[in-house]
Amino acid sequence: MYRFNFQPVFDNLDMLAHGAWLTVQLSSLAMAIGLVVSVLGAVAKTSGIKPLRWIVDAYVEVIRNTPFLIQIFFIFFGLPALGISMSHNTAALVALVVNVGAYGTEIIRAGIESIPQGQIEAGRALALSPVQIFRHVVLKPALRNIYPSLTSQFIYLMLTSSVVSVISATDLAAAGADLNARTFASFEIYLVLTVLYFLLALGFSTLFATLRRVFFDYPAGR
């Protein structure tokens, strides 16, 4: 009969808490930069400049049809062959940004296209400039429309980020792996890690639901 031993885990909770904090930081930073990439990607895709569209299409398709693990191996181990080498943590960040940027491009593009043409025409008829139309007419409803996909993408990104521990970047999963190497209470450690990730996901979805109520609380139109 297996004897559970959670002692090593409880003795090192501070270490895991620190790992969790690193995971939050890493995924938030990746999401923030990834959003910039996504907006650029979406603008390029809707720009009508064909070569630009092809490049973005290729980027999106390659990323969405290959595993994140291979992407991070390629970036961390493969790119130095081209003279581009970076630290474990930088490679992790870059891989996450590249990954979430591809999914985000599609989300943002859908958001822009979700605004009915009539809204933009009403803005033009009221003599608003293109920038004013984007700022006052398009932005908020578009954000509201993509908010659910964007926030679940963030949570998915945070869960995926556990994979960066395989290139020894520092995060929650890496903290767990460290502990595992020292104490061998493997099942207990990964059980607690899983619970911690779950709590992070739960915390963020609660936060996002609250923010949604604060920022997008207007009755939906047709």
Binding site: P116, G118, Q119, E121, A122, R124, A125, L126, A127, L128, S129, Q132, H136, V137, K140, P141, R144, F216, Y218, P219, A220, G221, R222
Partner: protein
């Protein structure tokens, strides 16, 4: 030079190869009320949308309120002077009724907030829904939304109002409240171009009724002779259909 509200000369508009407006000549006097009718796809929307440059034209000339429609600067000027009401209301869903009415005056005419709000409330009063000021569009009936859209356009203090089938998306019981609002506006001397098939409205307020077919104006007349003595045979058929 500014005795006419709108002058269109030899205007042609194409969508790709499709000839949507064919040699349109039209002069609208100040305070004149014009109703435009015609079969679906005949170019009615396209015609009034060229007046505020929601559609660009390929040849001809349009002068609105003494301003020739060319160059971004002039277009912005014209749009500030021309209000438009759409078939599908196009209210901004994320703003209250009041905010919908205040946005454009504050952003394009630089009207101070307090003044914009006072103006907005005044026009909401005028379209008879002052009590809805703090609601969101989705909380209103279609008729109420369309009246807000009229108020929103009026808040820019336009000299000309364009209506593109303002009642055709409405349930029958709401048509009257919107038409009444438009009749009020006509009585006050607003220059109006209305695309509509509400012939009672045309009889009551129009100075002139225009019939369009296949992108061209094929008949125009005062309401009485227009309805009782139509010359064009397609107009006769059209009037037979909607009667």
């Amino acid at each position: 030079m500014t005795e006419h509200a709108i002058t269109m000369r030899a205007v042609n508009k194409y969508y790709g190869a499709y000839h949507a407006l064919v040699d349109i000549d039209l002069t609208v006097d100040r305070g004149e009320r014009i109703v435009i009718c015609g079969p679906s796809g005949s170019g009615k929307s396209t015609l009034i949308r060229t007046i505020n440059q929601l559609e660009t034209i390929q040849s001809g000339q349009i002068v609105v309120d003494g301003i020739a429609l060319s160059g971004a600067e002039n277009v912005a000027k014209v749009r500030r002077d021309v209000g438009m009401v759409f078939q599908s209301f196009n209210l901004f869903p994320h703003m209250t009724v009041l905010e919908n009415c205040m946005l454009a005056p504050m952003k394009t005419r630089k009207v101070p907030r307090a003044e914009a709000e006072a103006t907005a409330r005044q026009y909401l009063e005028r379209v008879r829904i002052p009590e809805q000021a703090d609601k969101y569009p989705a909380q209103l009936s279609g008729g109420q939304q369309q009246r807000v859209a009229i108020a929103r356009a009026l808040c820019m203090k336009p000299r000309i109002m364009l209506f593109d089938e303002p009642t055709s998306a409405l349930d029958p019981e709401m048509v009257k409240e919107v038409l009444d609002t438009m009749i009020d506006l006509a009585r006050d001397g607003m220059t109006m171009l209305c695309v509509t098939h509400e012939m009672d409205f045309a009889r009551a307020v129009a100075d002139r009724v225009i019939f369009m077919d296949r992108g061209a104006i094929v008949e125009e007349n005062a309401p009485e002779p227009f309805f009782t003595n139509p010359c064009n045979e397609r107009l006769q058929a059209f009037l037979g259909q909607i009667a």
